[in-house]
């Protein structure tokens, strides 16, 4: 029984029994009028180009970390469809509030991937312009960005703007207090917000089965009175269609939506992780067979919009882009360590001034 007549019908909030999938693992498309796609051939090829680009730059980033050029890196391999399909559905005025694994989303928003990687090199907290790309600085602490998104969406609503906010988060983040607060706040105030959860099966080493007792993550939505959609996150078209619908729901003033994209992280949690300690090859093989990129490529080839020439060109462009990312990051100079103290307070405290002097002495190899 609902609290009052304005509460939604619970039946409208539950996810479908099976994840929404338009493109099956063999690349066969089954369209569904409830989840329209409306993409032309050029846009399909663009999706493909972005996915190939994400994969190549991702591999380059791992290599850069192994060469000591990045301190750490969190790979998105396997999650290209979830990231690029969802971000492709965004309107220009929408804002993305990412976690630390969203390079695919960043590419869709036109962020230079090298700018993003500076964070992992420790050269800059973020070199891209968040306002220009409507792509906020990446968030390392888990689920904090859900609150940022809810707050932004609330602001957009009060301003009468038609922008939506999207929080990109992982399955583990849904167990955090911040996620709960953001879900609840956004829903109570009908904030135009989509919580896009990439369920990649693991929060570092914790499997999703140990993360929640809810039937699925999308089922959690009903507790907040918002709809939960669940899609095959390795199906770029299904993810796009579901995200498109979620955004329309939010933009039309109906409040937030929780989208769960079921996917799999093919690489380690970060370059500092050893996944063989908690998952086995058989599991990896099962997911390799559901690879988002090869599935989409099969579909595009079948449709005749991608052939060997197109694939080769896309591959070469992506390789060149990866090379330029490498060139931008390789031995990029670090800032002045003394800047540590520059932006903490408008007027530095005596303690900070002392610390700054000590660091300066140490850097010059002299005694105080």
């Amino acid at each position: 029984m609902a609290i009052d007549s304005s509460s939604p019908d619970p039946r409208d909030l539950l996810p479908t029994d099976r994840p929404i999938q338009l493109l099956d693992v063999d690349g066969t498309l089954t369209e569904d009028p409830r989840w329209p796609i409306d993409l032309g051939d050029d846009q399909l090829v663009e999706l493909y180009r972005l996915m190939v680009m994400a994969r190549q730059i991702d591999a380059q980033a791992i290599t850069l970390q192994r060469q000591g050029q990045l301190g750490v890196y969190a790979s998105l391999r396997g999650q290209e469809a979830a990231q690029i399909g969802s971000a492709f559905a965004l309107a220009p005025q929408d804002w993305v509030f990412p976690s630390y694994r969203e390079m695919g989303v960043a590419l869709v928003r036109g962020v230079d991937p090298a700018d993003l990687l500076h964070v992992f090199r420790g050269t800059w907290l973020g070199a891209h312009d968040p306002a220009k790309h409507r792509f906020a600085l990446i968030t390392i602490s888990i689920a904090t960005q859900a609150l940022h998104a809810a707050g932004f969406a609330m602001g957009a609503k009060l301003d009468g703007s038609d922008a939506c906010a999207v929080a990109y988060m992982g399955d583990g983040a849904t167990s955090e207090g911040d996620a709960h607060e953001a879900f609840n706040f956004a829903s109570v105030f009908d904030a135009p917000c989509v919580f896009f959860v990439q369920n990649n099966q693991y929060a570092i080493s914790v499997p999703v089965t140990r993360q929640t007792k809810a039937p699925t993550i999308a089922h959690k939505a009903i507790g907040y009175g918002m709809p939960g959609y669940r899609c095959d996150g390795n199906d770029v078209l299904g993810t796009y269609a579901v995200m498109r619908k979620a955004l329309r729901h939010a933009r039309d003033g109906n409040g937030p939506v929780l989208v769960e994209a079921v996917t799999y992280r093919m690489e380690a949690h970060t370059t500092a992780d050893d996944p063989t300690r908690y998952r086995d090859d058989a599991e990896l093989e099962r997911w390799r067979a559901r690879d988002p990129l090869s599935r989409f490529e099969r579909f595009l080839r079948g449709r005749g919009v991608v052939d060997d020439d197109v694939a080769q060109t896309v591959d070469q462009v992506a390789k060149a882009e990866a090379q330029s990312v490498r060139a931008a990051i390789y031995d990029a100079p670090h800032g002045d360590p003394l800047e540590l103290f520059s932006y903490v307070y408008a007027e530095p405290t005596q303690q900070l001034r002392d610390q700054r002097a000590l660091l300066q002495d140490e850097l010059s190899g002299q005694d105080a």
Binding site: T63, R66, S205, A272, D274, Q355
Partner: protein
């Protein structure tokens, strides 16, 4: 043509060293940029190392199995034709500072690993980050380590000066460069002595070795252990093994599996040895289940995977489980959960051709059984000397938990079960 030194980067947030598992290239080989050149193992994971430069491999600075400090050269590449991404001076500057850091960190950790395992912990709380070493405004007396700045520590290390014996003349008792130089001048005998001594190699105790060292030190310090041993005629046990093995050819049935079964039964009869001494609470903790740790030698060192509820397993199940755990441990694939929580440990040192010994207890357990080799020996049966297959069984036990009589009772019972395996049918 210029030769570029490739230095080992920190491969995972706070690591201090890595071990070369395998070289994927050889000296003289032409390599491409980003080509994988080596497989290295850190405290976190085994990863492949890509070359930063294209060129010809000029030198491999470490052999397989050798450890390389973060910041130290791991290979040199003769960079031909193509300009290197970095100039020599830049490499020198960057690498030089990271070497300083590594050296300093080694000093700080004093031989222990400074590795930080994000997401896993360090398995002993020994993780250290590079932390601020300057305590501001403190006037507390020297507590854990002498106060000196990193460049001064480096200088002291280079000159062989022990900072612990120097009084600092700087602010807050900080040791200065002059203090170090003065100390170095005042003790020339140390330097002279060092010059004449034959070279020694110092090996950092890290990774699995460090965990073993810490764990055994605690056991040795804390547990007043006594040892006893007995020889047992295992001829009948081996006959049983042969019979079972021919009936179940699919299972690799080892004599150890049968001895583990005997051990589980004996522990059931003498449950006091399946306990732990909780010194803090002054309590003996009696475990409700027999979880047998089985010491297993791996490439990485000694690991002790745990067979859960061993008393509930048949000989065949025990054999299969030990085999499964041991192969996972050797492949470095064992989940950490399978390495903790044993209630009694068995060490099969007989596998190394040893008859007996005084094993160190796997803290905080009450006892450990050492199983010697099974060898044919002259044995007196019915007043005649005949060859029999004899096994040595050694027990170390925590004398706080039980007295000799009880421990001897356990070992004797175990020896009887080995000699007369039909008795196992009663259990």
């Amino acid at each position: 043509m210029p030769v570029e030194q490739v230095r080992l980067p920190d491969l995972g947030e706070g690591l201090t060293e890595a071990t070369v598992v395998r070289w994927l290239v050889a000296v003289g080989e032409v390599i491409a940029e980003d080509q994988l050149v080596a497989e290295v193992e850190t405290a976190k994971a085994t990863v492949e190392l890509p070359a930063p430069y294209a060129g010809t491999v000029a030198e491999l600075h470490a052999g397989e199995g050798e450890e390389v400090a973060v910041g130290a050269p791991i290979l040199s590449v003769e960079v031909g034709g193509h300009p290197a991404p970095v100039t020599d001076t830049e490499v020198g500057a960057t690498a030089g500072s990271s070497v300083d850091r590594a050296d300093d960190q080694a000093t700080e950790a004093e031989g222990a690993s400074g590795n930080v395992l994000v997401g896993y912990g360090t398995g002993g709380g020994r993780g250290r980050r590079r932390r601020a070493r300057v305590r501001h405004g403190s006037t507390s007396p020297r507590d854990t380590r002498p106060r000196a700045k990193p460049p001064v520590r480096k200088l002291a290390k280079d000159l062989g000066v022990d900072l612990d014996v120097i009084e600092g003349s700087g602010p807050d008792g900080r040791i200065t460069r002059d203090d170090v130089h003065a100390a170095a001048g005042a003790s020339p005998t140390i330097e002279a002595g060092a010059a004449q001594a034959p070279p020694v190699r110092r090996e950092a105790v890290t990774g699995v070795r460090a965990r073993i060292a810490d764990h055994l030190s605690i056991a040795w310090r804390e547990i007043p252990a006594a040892s006893c041993w007995v020889e047992s005629d295992a001829t009948a046990l081996l006959a049983v093994r042969r019979e079972l093995a021919s009936a179940h050819p699919d299972v690799r049935l080892t004599p150890l599996a049968l001895i583990l079964r005997c051990c589980a039964v004996a522990l059931g009869e003498v449950p006091r040895l399946n306990s732990s001494f909780d010194a803090a609470a002054r309590e003996i903790v009696h475990h409700g289940r027999i979880d047998l740790g089985v010491a297993t030698q791996t490439d990485r060192g000694l690991l002790v995977p745990v067979v859960r509820d061993a008393a509930a397993l048949s000989v065949l199940e025990l054999a299969a489980e030990v085999e499964r755990l041991a192969s996972l441990a050797r492949a470095n694939r064992l989940p950490p959960a399978d390495l903790v929580g044993s209630t009694f440990t068995v060490s099969n040192f007989g596998a190394f051709g040893i008859d007996g010994g005084g094993p160190i207890i796997n803290h905080p357990e009450a006892g450990i059984l050492g199983v010697g080799r099974i060898a044919s020996r002259p044995w007196v049966v019915d007043d005649a000397v005949v060859p029999r297959d004899v096994v040595g069984l050694s027990l170390s036990f925590d004398h706080r938990v039980c007295d000799g009589a009880e421990a001897a009772g356990f070992l004797r019972l175990l020896a009887d079960l080995v000699e007369r395996p039909t008795l196992l049918l009663a259990h």
